[in-house]
């Protein structure tokens, strides 16, 4: 026997179940998608490393094909990182601690505009404006620092080099690093800052003593996220760089990156061919590299989560 108080109203129970099942399945679908990304890339790249008519496994052939591209990708990304990271941290500091408070929000929007410009437009800009503008710089570097292998070789006459590509990538990752750093710098406890200032610290000493220790994990993860973006950036490099063999020289044409190689080669590759499998295989390599970088970034953040407020 049940009283009306303990007897529950069954209306709407079905709705509750259906809705929660829907939400769970959406989440599971995301996980499945990511698994399928890995699976499809692996299956489709099989032809690149295994060919019956060439005597089974052809790993060395694939390795010879892939390693210049991996190194080219890393070079371009590291140039971008070296150029962008200090500027981005400076801009974030400017917005959070130096700019007049009335304007700091507007300045943040202006920097976000950099992120709004599509990558193909950056590529066009790098190809038509930045590259030609850098030609005299390359000439100067070659004349005065030509004994360093980085600046050896004939300087490019079009400016379409791996260094130009790195600069364009640096511009593209600047807003990402800036916005991550800015968020963290703003969260620095006001009490820490005021305590430092009250002890007579100058503004820079205050930043060094209270803001940077608080934000260290955030800065690193912002830089790693920028690196992940630079590694996977396609169009800017595909347009800017005139691809070629792997060389140590940054100022002559040559080198290529994985995304640019795929974008330039894939539309021409016949479906199901070994060439297409090869391109998918280096896509998989790129996927693994960026996965590693992003997971490291997340891990650094989560390790510092408890005491830094960064997330």
């Amino acid at each position: 026997m049940t009283s009306s108080l303990t007897q529950s109203d069954k209306r709407g129970v079905a709705g509750d179940r259906v809705f929660s099942a829907l939400t769970v399945s959406a989440g599971v679908l995301i996980l499945l998608t990511l698994a399928f990304v890995a699976l499809f890339l692996t299956v489709n790249s099989r032809d690149a490393v295994y060919q019956e008519d060439q005597g089974g496994w052809i790993l060395t052939a694939f390795f010879d094909y892939a390693y210049p591209l991996v190194i080219g990708t890393l070079i371009a990304s590291f140039i971008a990182l070296i150029l962008a990271a200090p500027v981005a941290v400076g801009v974030a500091l400017y917005i959070s601690h130096y700019a007049p408070p009335r304007f700091s929000k507007g300045i943040g929007y202006v920097i976000d505009l950099l992120a709004a410009i599509p990558s193909v437009v950056y590529g066009a800009w790098g190809m038509s404006f930045l590259g030609p503008a850098l030609i005299p710089v390359y000439g100067w570097l070659h004349e005065n620092l030509g004994f360093i292998p980085l600046f050896a070789g004939d300087p490019s006459q079009t400016g379409r080099t791996i260094f130009t590509a790195g600069v364009v990538l640096g511009v593209m990752i600047l807003p990402i690093i800036t916005s991550v750093c800015r968020e963290i710098f703003i969260q620095t406890p006001k009490l820490h800052e005021e305590a430092a200032l009250a002890l007579g610290a100058t503004r820079w000493e205050m930043i060094k003593m209270s803001v940077f220790p608080f934000a260290r994990a955030g800065i690193i993860s912002g830089i790693m996220l920028g690196l992940g973006r630079a590694l996977g950036e396609t169009m800017a490099v595909a347009l800017v760089l005139s691809p070629g063999m792997l060389t140590a020289s940054l100022i002559s044409s040559g080198n290529s990156t994985i995304p640019a190689e795929i974008a330039l080669g894939f539309p021409e590759a016949p479906p199901g061919s070994e060439r297409q499998a090869q391109l998918i295989a280096i896509g998989l390599v790129l996927f693994l590299i960026t996965l590693l970088v992003n997971m490291t970034a997340r891990w650094i953040v989560s390790r510092h989560k408890e005491f830094s407020g960064a997330n």
Partner: protein, 402 residues
């Protein structure tokens, strides 16, 4: 009152003591207070900047004057001279402080330069192409190398437009939005409302973060491979669509969804978390079921933030080139059907016009069209960004006045 520059108790306590940097006294000799004694006059940095500009211009003129070297020399002269001046006149700590202040301002100026340069270069070249007849309303059908050649040699107007690319971008982005918004929204509802911190929710949070970093070209490769597999299985089972190729508008939409879902999840999750718990509890107290509470109370409260997050996600994917290039291809005519034939999107159009000019000998018309298309694309993306901010601002839930 003493007239000497050495500080005395009187000069500190006096009515003019702490108020200014230098106070002209009766005979015109500046008198300094002990509080401000250790600083440089406030006009000095302007004078030094002016001096550095002149010196920088002079040095730059030695190597053949241009703006870039002028900027570099000025910055170096100004930063070094103010550092050493402060160091000798005041003290080392203040000098370091000033040095870093200058460097931070310099970083900001450096960051502004590419933005101005990109917008200027696109606008200055693109306006001309945008004004060409029928640029927005015609496609590239019938535009051959000969037509472009005639525009250069005989002075006919540059023909051809971006109508097909606009339609392609619109349809592909719309389809991607239709796919990814429900998935992203439901996932974030699961994370905020249902998950209790178990392994599934932690895995989803982690992998959504990881997904944010998937290179766009890899998303394109995945969508192409997945669609090819699906079509082969489908035609193997049903015997239909045996000749269907996987290069379709919908394949590109799937690729863009892979990029869009994590953005939607992240922004929506943040918005749902700031919905006050009192609202949910009030709804439960009235006996409303959880799913109706979410649909009727939580979502309407957060709708402005969600809408602005979705708009930002659209703005992000509409500029993507690589995944569409490898999944939807490029054609010259307008294709309205997502499920049949190749499609051109605006970014791919820009890329192709630069990379493979319509007339190999006369690339100017192609570049003019590409810059104009880039201008249109930037205007679309910035318009979407502005729209998102406006939504967030004007439809934000009221904080007070309940």
């Amino acid at each position: 009152m003493t007239q000497t520059p050495t500080p005395t108790p009187a000069s500190v306590q006096g009515p003019s003591g702490a108020s200014g940097l230098t106070e002209p006294s009766s005979n015109g000799v500046p008198r300094r207070s002990s509080l401000t004694q250790n600083t440089l006059p406030s006009w000095l940095w302007i004078a030094m900047l002016g001096g550095s500009l002149v010196l920088g211009a002079a040095l730059s003129a030695l190597f053949g004057f241009n703006l870039a070297t002028w900027f570099i020399f000025t910055a170096v002269i100004y930063i070094l001279s103010s550092y050493f001046l402060t160091r000798t006149k005041v003290n080392g700590r203040r000098a370091t402080d000033g040095l870093w202040t200058n460097l931070v301002y310099l970083a900001f100026l450096i960051a502004l330069m590419p933005l101005i340069s990109v917008i200027w270069s696109v606008a200055s070249v693109g306006i001309q192409g945008l004004m060409a007849p029928g640029f927005l309303s015609s496609d590239m059908q019938g535009i051959t190398g000969l037509v472009d050649e005639a525009s250069q040699t005989e002075g006919t107007p540059v023909l051809g437009g971006i109508f097909h690319a606009l339609i392609g971008s619109l349809l592909i982005t719309l389809a991607a939005t239709v796919i990814s918004v429900p998935i992203g929204l439901l996932t974030s509802i699961y994370l905020v409302e249902y998950a209790k911190g178990g392994p599934l929710s932690r895995a989803i949070t982690f992998f959504v973060d990881v997904m944010t970093g998937i290179p766009s070209i890899v998303a394109g490769l995945f969508a192409g491979a997945a669609m090819a597999w699906f079509l082969s299985v489908f035609s193997g089972v049903t015997g239909l669509l045996t000749t269907q190729r996987s290069t379709l508008g919908i394949t590109a939409a799937i690729a863009l969804s892979v990029l869009m879902v994590p953005v939607v999840v992240r922004t929506t999750e943040e918005m749902l978390r700031v919905v006050p718990n009192e609202l949910r509890e009030a709804s439960y107290a009235l006996g409303v079921r959880k799913w109706r509470t979410i649909l009727k109370v939580v979502l309407p409260t957060a709708i402005s933030g969600i809408a602005s997050g979705v708009t930002l996600a659209i703005a992000r994917v509409i500029g993507e080139t690589a995944p569409i290039l490898v999944t939807a291809g490029f054609v010259v005519n307008t294709n309205w059907n997502l499920f049949q034939g190749w499609m051109t999107a605006l970014p791919v159009y820009i890329f192709r016009q630069f990379q493979n000019p319509t007339s190999p000998n006369f690339s100017d018309p192609s570049e003019q069209r590409a810059w104009a298309a880039a201008l249109v694309l930037i205007l679309i993306v910035m318009g979407l960004n502005l729209f998102a901010r406006l939504i967030a601002k004007f439809f934000a839930p009221k904080q007070t006045g309940r």
